[in-house]
Each structure stands twice: as C-alpha cells, then as structure tokens.
C-alpha cells in the first residue's frame, strides 16, 4: 500500500543542487589550517630514553615500593614467629625443670614416710 506513496516521496525529495559558487564560498570561509608538512613542533622532541624514563619511572617506583613493603612485612612476621617459638620452648623447659624438682622432693618425702621407726629399747640403751 505504501510502496507507491514511498516512490512518490522519493521523487519529491530528490536532491537539489547547491547554489552556484557554493564550494568557492566555503573555501573562502575556511579558517587557516597549516599543511601537515608545514607544522612545526611546539616543543623539541625529547630523546626516547628520557621520555620513556619519565613515563615509566613513577609506576616502577610504585612497584618497587610495594615489593619492599611485602618483603619487609614477611621478614617481620618471620622474626615474630621465631621469637614466639623460642619463648614457648623456654617456658616448656622451665615447666619441665619445675616438674622434675617437684618429683624429686616428693620421692624424698615418700622414702622418709616409708622408712621404719627405730625400736624403743634401743632408744633407752642409747640414753644410758
């Protein structure tokens, strides 16, 4: 249904030529645009090594700082663990020593209790 109407619309909306001299008027209205070959760099070109150093120095420093921080943290954690381990061993040794002494004292007490008492006659003879 719309096909015939669409074709009529296409005919009615056919392109129209631009006015005479249009391109010339646009050319005259252009702002100055230097040709690529005439372009002069505003700043001298820096050597690649320097610019690369400038470009990568900040990220490299950041990465190095992170690495140092990680290793230092790891080292501190190791030292702390070692110290805790040594303290634990020392406490364990002290406890064992205390247990040993206690055990010895208990043995002496047990022997004293178990030893038979001397007879009473012998006691009198001794007095005379």
């Amino acid at each position: 249904m719309n096909e015939e109407f669409e074709n009529r619309l296409r005919r009615a909306l056919r392109r129209v030529d631009a006015p005479e001299g249009f391109a010339e008027r646009v050319m005259r209205a252009r702002p100055a645009r230097p040709a690529a070959a005439d372009l002069v760099p505003l700043r001298p070109v820096r050597p690649t090594s320097v610019s690369a150093w400038r470009r990568f120095s900040a990220p490299a420093a950041l990465a190095a700082s992170l690495l140092v921080a990680v290793f230092a943290g790891q080292h501190v954690a190791t030292l702390k663990a070692e110290r805790e381990q040594q303290a634990g061993l020392a406490a364990s040794r002290e406890l064992m020593q205390a247990l040993r002494l206690t055990s010895q004292k208990l043995d002496l007490a047990y022997e004293a209790v178990q030893r038979p008492a001397p007879p009473p006659a012998a006691e009198e003879e001794n007095r005379s």
Partner: protein, 188 residues
C-alpha cells in the same frame, strides 16, 4: 574535478585534503554539496538557511579532516552532522516556523517529475513533521539510507526510526488523501 573522477581518486583525495591541498578539499565539497545542501533545504525549508547550514557543516568537516577515515565515512559524517545540526536549528526560535512556500522559498521541482503540485505538497507536508521525524524521512527518502544507518546517524534506536517512518508515512498519506490531491485507490 567532477564527482566521478574524484571517486576514482578516492584514496588520494582525502589524504591530499588533509595535507592542505585546496583543490582536493574543494573536490570533496563538490562531491557532497548536493546531499548536504538538500538535507538542509528539506529540513529547514529555506534556501538561505540551507546554504548557511551546509557551509557550517563543511567548515566542521575541514576542522575534523584528520578523523575522517574514508570518503564513505566522510559521506556518513556529513549526513549525520547536517541532520543533527538542522534538528538543532529547528529547535531554536528562528527556524521553528517554516516560511510558507509563497514567501520566497523556492524549492525547485525536479525537472522530470510527473506532478509538480503533488511534489510541492509532499515537501510541505514533510515540513510539518517534528524535527526528528523529518530528519528520519529525509535520510530515508532523499538520501536512500537504510534504517540502521539512520539510527546510527541520529543516535536513535532502530525501532524508533521504523516507528517514525511508519507514522510519518501514514500521516502524510492521510493528509494527501484528505486534501483530495490523491485518492486512496491511487495509492493502493
């Protein structure tokens, strides 16, 4: 340089224009001026405004030459900028009311058209559409662009473009029949 020979030198033309070759840029203008001027004319309904718009569009192209990748891209870019700029202008007070054709607006009928009166009426009805719908119709029926390209040029979803086309066709067709310029049988 005519458009055909310019087309043949396509790869060089853009590069030469970028390097400041005036003849190459002038050839680019001539290659696309009818398209851009006609978009302006159909959108704004005024020859003077259409010429201003076309000039503005080509000056923008001149500043953006470095970002244009090919002549095809240039064509797309020009249609896009022309249509969007026209929508902008239409939304401003100065161009919101299209001057009637009798007030010096002279839109020539194509020399081979069968019915100049009907063509003028169709152009007038196009001018009654809202700016975005008008841009869609101009890109579709003047520039013969497909729906996807129109959507890309106007930053619209494809379904919105389809909807604009359908509604505009229905409205224009209804008004043509209502004005008895055409009968429903003639369009069926």
């Amino acid at each position: 340089m005519n458009p055909e020979s310019a087309q043949a030198e396509e790869p060089l033309l853009l590069e030469r224009a970028r390097r400041g070759d005036e003849a190459a840029f002038a050839a680019l203008i001539r290659m696309h001026q009818a398209s851009v001027f006609s978009i302006g004319l159909r959108m704004l309904n005024r020859r003077d405004a259409a010429e201003d718009l076309a000039q503005d569009v080509f000056l923008q192209l001149y500043r953006k030459l470095d970002s244009i990748e090919s002549l095809e891209h240039a064509g797309f870019w020009l249609r896009r900028v022309a249509a969007n700029l026209a929508i902008d202008w239409l939304r401003r007070a100065a161009y919101t009311r299209a001057a009637p054709l009798e007030d010096g607006v002279e839109i020539p009928a194509p020399p081979t058209c069968e019915d100049p009166l009907m063509d003028r009426e169709l152009v007038r009805l196009l001018g009654e559409l809202a700016p975005a719908a008008r841009a869609v119709m101009v890109l579709r029926y003047q520039e013969d662009r497909d729906v996807a390209e129109i959507a890309a040029a106007l930053d619209m979803p494809v379904n919105t473009v389809k909807s604009h086309i359908k509604r505009s066709l229905t409205a224009m067709r209804g008004k043509m029949i209502g004005a008895q310029l055409v009968t429903a049988e003639e369009l069926s």
